[in-house]
């Protein structure tokens, strides 16, 4: 019965989870080290279908800022993160962009939309001053 350790990434506590699992499936058989019930959910998910939320940026035309920050509405299969980022490289949003607006209906056939995480109003900043 294979065993492995993983770090739960659900919350800042970062529990070290110790799993034993059935490699066929794969299926979780036993778990220790989780301080809460979300640890088990995470371990099961990570073992069978690891997913991560995609966060990145998309270029904006005519906006006050050159980029709008974006996220996938739900976590995506981990292996799709890089292809999804590549997809965003050719994507443009038109200002004004509302926070929460859908910029892509379906990321790579997952059924998960891509959402803007902030608003970008129209017009460029009048001064060229770049605030760090």
């Amino acid at each position: 019965m294979p065993e492995k350790e993983m770090r739960c990434i659900i919350c800042p506590a970062g529990c070290v989870l110790r799993l034993s699992y059935d490699a066929d499936g794969p299926a979780l058989l036993a778990l220790s080290g989780a301080d809460c019930t979300r640890g088990r959910e995470y371990a099961e998910q990570e073992l069978t279908d690891p997913r991560r939320t995609l966060t990145s940026t998309v270029k904006v035309r005519g906006g006050r800022f050159p980029l709008v920050s974006v996220r996938s509405a739900a976590p995506l299969p981990k292996h799709l993160l890089r292809p999804a980022i590549a997809l965003l490289r050719d994507l443009w949003a038109e200002a004004p962009v509302e926070a929460g607006s859908v910029l892509l209906d379906d990321i790579l056939g997952t059924g998960t939309p891509l959402l803007a995480t902030r608003a970008v109003p129209s017009q460029a900043i009048k001064s060229a001053m770049i605030a760090l």
Partner: protein, 415 residues
Amino acid sequence: MEPTLKTDIAVIGGGPAGLAAAVAARAAGAERVLVLEREPVAGGILNQCIHDGFGLVRFGEALTGPEYADRFLRAAQEAEVQILTETMTLELTAERRLTALGPQGLFAAEAGAVILAMGCRERARGAIQIPGTRPAGIFTAGTAQHYLNAQNLMPGRRALILGSGDVGLIMARRLTLEGAEVLAVVEKLPYAGGLARNIAQCLEDYDIPLYLSHTVTHIEGKQRVERVTVARVDEAGREVPGTARVYACDTLILSVGLIPENELSLKAGVKLSPVTGGALVDEDLQTNVPGIFACGNALHVHDLVDYASAEAEQAARSAVAFCRGEAALPPGIPVRPAAGVRYVVPFFARPGSRPLLSLRVSAPAGPGRLVVKAGEQVLAARKFTRLLPSEMARLTPRLPVPPGAAEMEVLVSDA
């Protein structure tokens, strides 16, 4: 200059702490609440922290930085907080008069109470003294993050990251996803500076090696960074001979610590702690200057924004009470970090109070107990399995500070 603006509460800085303070001040009954924000939009550093994981404690969901900021921006709007953007506060006096420069020019304001919420700055190359040439291509992690996430500029193609603070870890992942090659993250200490979850999801997910007890010993390059030398260090932080390795790269990212921003505070006569770099506050988060309060990363560097917001709300309630002229109390007794504890905020607590203590351990500890004592009396003892210097612990003693106590102590004990 005659004050042209009068306000009950002036909040300096419109980041997560400042916005939370402003909303809480209105909720506590302050009529006029003014936020002075240097950037074109409020929200502070959250606007460039596009990754998720914010708000897990406060909202029970993993928000991105902009989403977390947006909740407070909306709340501030609903609460009719006045936010002055593109407004740089130039001076603050002990009498709570402010001079600021905004789009309309120079102006003065007068506040019933002031809340310091300026956030923090990153330590840069100058602070850590790396030998070598001075080429382009050396960025603090936050600057690289601003280039990438706000300006659509790629900082470099082959990067090495010095320091394992959270922003550095986040940037390792971000640069990788954007097509750069991140060779390694190098940490001088024998343990990581950032959260374990960030080691897992930013480094392990992308097979980026983390070298503990290693540091950058030399930088080479004429116009641009060309090579960076990394070596192992011993327990005293000295280079171990024969362990140097040279990395060919064009970028060095520094994630080597944060320092509370307090130039304004100093001018107002606010006394700072040499350990935290923030104000020496009492249990109400009031500084040594009456009517001036501090919170968020300007007070001490937090691990989670959720706690910075909560702390700001506490400062706001105290500031509103001060404005109402609630009687000034006698000064409190010192709260001292003892065995295993690097710092404790607040620095003073009054007898009768049960102050919320925020603290960090000086080295990884546990399992053990966090103990709060006044003389021989134990005010609180809490078991923990592990505590890392990268995590802030928060603890409210079960018992109030006893009258007549000379000082309080917070320590880590084994049992």
